[in-house]
Every structure is written in C-alpha cells, then in structure tokens.
C-alpha cells in the first residue's frame, strides 16, 4: 500500500530540490491540490517552522515565490559547494549598473558593455530582475520589485 502523502512535506521536498523559486501555482501543480489558499497556508506554515527552528536554513519569499536559502554567516562559509551564482557575471554587472542608474536607456548599456548586453538583458528580464519599456528606437530599463526583495535594497 502506498504511503499517505504529507503535502507539507511534499512542498518542502519540492522547494529543496528546485533550482529556482516556486510560486503557489507551481506548488499546486506539484501537489495536485486545487486549493490555492490551502497550498499557500501550508507554505506559510513551513516558513514559520523554519523560522522557529532558527537553523542555518530558511524559506524566503521573493516576488510571491518561495525558495530555500541559507542565513548569514553560514551562506558565505559554504558558498563554494554551490554550482554557481544564479546570476551570471556579465548580467550581474549590467544589473548593478541599472540599479545605480535606474531608467537607463538600453542603447547606453550597449555602448558601455558591448553587444553581449542584449543576451544579458534577456537573462535579466527572464529572471524578473529588470523590466524594459520601449522608448523611441531603444528601451528604458529599470529594476523590478523582485530585484529590491532579492537584494533587500532600495534603488537610487
């Protein structure tokens, strides 16, 4: 007989294995539960449990998505075991420049960082760190709320 599935543990397993943050809809699909509210309740319980444990691991919420994370100072001590940062070096440099010069034109970024900017910009948009608004023949680039939540910063 198949073991009874504990949905909270299933959500915990999914968050543990997933390489990126999972939204409530993703977790509904994984658990097969239709009740959005119930899944959200289970995630909130998990978040609270990890917070109460006060261990090295925590579940954080970024842009309405959840992921496992490590608390400092433990994260920086074990970062060498990770497969790599979740933002590429070139993309991070552009993201940093955009955070300093919010609403910068994409054409200016291309002039400064070269043709590879288009590729990095695609990555940053896909990951939800920046948004583009068409202006004339170029685009105006600004950071998103996800960026602010991820780095826990305000933007100039």
């Amino acid at each position: 007989m198949e073991e009874q599935i504990d949905y909270k543990k299933l959500i915990e397993a999914a968050l543990f294995m997933s390489p990126s943050a999972l939204g409530t809809q993703d977790l509904c699909n994984i658990t097969g539960m239709a009740s959005f509210g119930h899944v959200e309740e289970l995630v909130k319980k998990l978040v609270a449990e990890y917070k109460e444990r006060n261990g090295a691991m925590e579940i954080i919420e970024i842009d309405k998505k959840y992921m496992f994370s490590l608390r400092e100072p433990y994260a920086s001590r074990v970062s060498r075991f990770a497969s790599g940062p979740d933002i590429g070096k070139g993309s991070l440099r552009i993201l940093a420049y955009v955070s300093k010069n919010n609403n910068v034109m994409q054409s200016e970024l291309v002039k400064l960082f070269g043709e590879s900017t288009y590729e990095h910009m695609k990555e940053l948009v896909e990951k939800g760190f920046v948004e583009r608004k068409k202006q004339g023949r170029s685009r105006r680039i600004s950071v998103t709320n996800k960026f602010k939540e991820y780095f826990n910063v305000g933007v100039q």
Binding site: M17, P19, S20, F68, S69, A75, S76, S79, F81, A82, S83, G84, P85, D86, I87, K89, L92, R93, I94, L95, A96, Y97, S99, K100, K111, L112, F113, Y150, F151, N152, V153
Partner: protein, 230 residues
C-alpha cells in the same frame, strides 16, 4: 522456385548470392527459419559480408540490386538470430548458492539513489556592489578612451622652397663638372652635405631633368647615375 531455394539451403554452405536472385527470397528465408529448415546461428554473417565484397568487385555492369539484397538478407538473418536469444535473466537462488559456497551469505539492502543537486547560490549584496565597481571602472575606461580617441594631434609641416633647392643643386652640378662636363651622383652627394643627402639631391635633379636643363644617364639598374649639362 521454392524447391530451388530449399536445395540451396540443404547444402552445407548457404549460398546467399544465388539465393537472393530468387524473386520471393525474403518470404522463403523467413519461412525456412520458422520451419526449422534453416538455423540462422549456423550462418556466418562475416562470411556473407566477404561474399558481398567479392560480388561488388566482380561486377562488370553496375547493378546493385543483387549485392543490396545480400545486405538485406544478412540483416534479416541477424534479426532472426537476435530474436532467438534468451533475454530473460536466470533466477539464482542466492540462499541455496550461499549454502554451497564457502563464503558466508550476507544479505545486502538494495541501492537507493540519494537526490541532491548542488543548488545555485544567491548573489550577495557585496557581490552586487563589487559588480557595480567593475561597471563604473569600465565606464571610466570607456570615457577616457573616447576622450583620447577624439583628441587633436597637431601636425607640424615645414615649408620648403623647391625652386630654391633646385637652383642650389644646379649650381652645385655646374661647380663640380669634370673635364668631360659630367659629374656622378655619388660625387655630388658626398659634396652636398645635406641632412637627407640622397633625397635632397635626387629630387632637385629630377626637377632639373624634367626641365631639360640636365641629362641623367644610368646604364645599369641601381648603377651609378651620371649627370651632364644640356
């Protein structure tokens, strides 16, 4: 036709080359195997490949139908061979085997996979600041480069009075003519004592020759130039 094909099989060596010439050879081949009249395991496919190569070599008119049928027949035979293989694993009673063995029987749990992919780590704020410093350095470098590329480089030209130069060289030629009213270019250069003697003497000479005031004679390439007054 059927009898012919069967007779080819009954002989010890299976003559595939003659066999595939029959129109219905494919059906006959499968039928023979099914009726146990032909055992695919007794046919050496390497030998058939050798025959195929021989047939192609012997061919005077290019008709690939027969050799191609040999390949197809080999493939069918290979398939029949593989179908005959026993794919089920033999079940061995481990405990019974253990009793007969001198080694003690130790039951071992089956292996299970432990799933844990190394996750991507989050980028820290310090890394973001470091990236910003990189970006600002790059910006500074680009701006400096643009500024340096756009700077005006002064070009200094010295004005030269070509006519005066020509006249100076002409008087030099006149003064150094030998008894036959000629002077060599090398002699003129050694007397002239200019900064860039060759060009400073040679170019005015070309002007003078162009105006038909002198005659330049060079009998061999890169040889001595003889200057004579016109």
């Amino acid at each position: 036709m059927r009898e012919t094909a069967t007779s080819m099989v009954s002989v010890n060596r299976f003559d595939i080359e003659s066999f595939v010439k029959e129109a219905t050879w494919k059906d006959i081949l499968v039928d023979l195997v099914k009726k146990n009249e032909l055992n695919p395991w007794e046919i050496d496919i390497i030998d058939i490949v050798g025959k195929y190569v021989d047939v192609v070599k012997r061919m005077k008119v290019l008709d690939l139908r027969v050799p191609a049928n040999i390949i197809l027949a080999s493939a069918i035979l290979l398939r029949l061979k593989s179908d005959m293989l026993e794919l089920e694993e033999r079940v061995v009673d481990e405990s019974a085997a253990a009793e007969n063995s001198t080694r003690p029987y130790i039951p071992v749990d089956g292996l299970s996979m432990r799933l844990r992919l190394p996750p991507k780590r989050r980028v820290s704020l310090n890394e973001l600041i470091g990236a910003l410093e990189d970006a600002m350095k790059l910006k500074e470098y680009r701006e400096e480069k643009i500024a340096s590329d756009a700077r005006i480089v002064p070009m200094i030209f010295t004005r030269v009075d070509v006519e005066a130069e020509v006249e100076t060289v002409y008087s030099l030629v006149q003064k150094n003519l030998d008894a036959s009213k000629m002077v060599t270019f090398s002699a003129l250069c050694s007397i002239a004592k200019r900064d860039d003697t060759l060009l400073d003497v040679f170019i005015p000479l070309l002007f003078l020759a162009n105006k038909n005031r002198i005659l330049l004679i060079q009998e061999a390439f890169f040889g001595e130039i003889v200057i004579a007054l016109n």
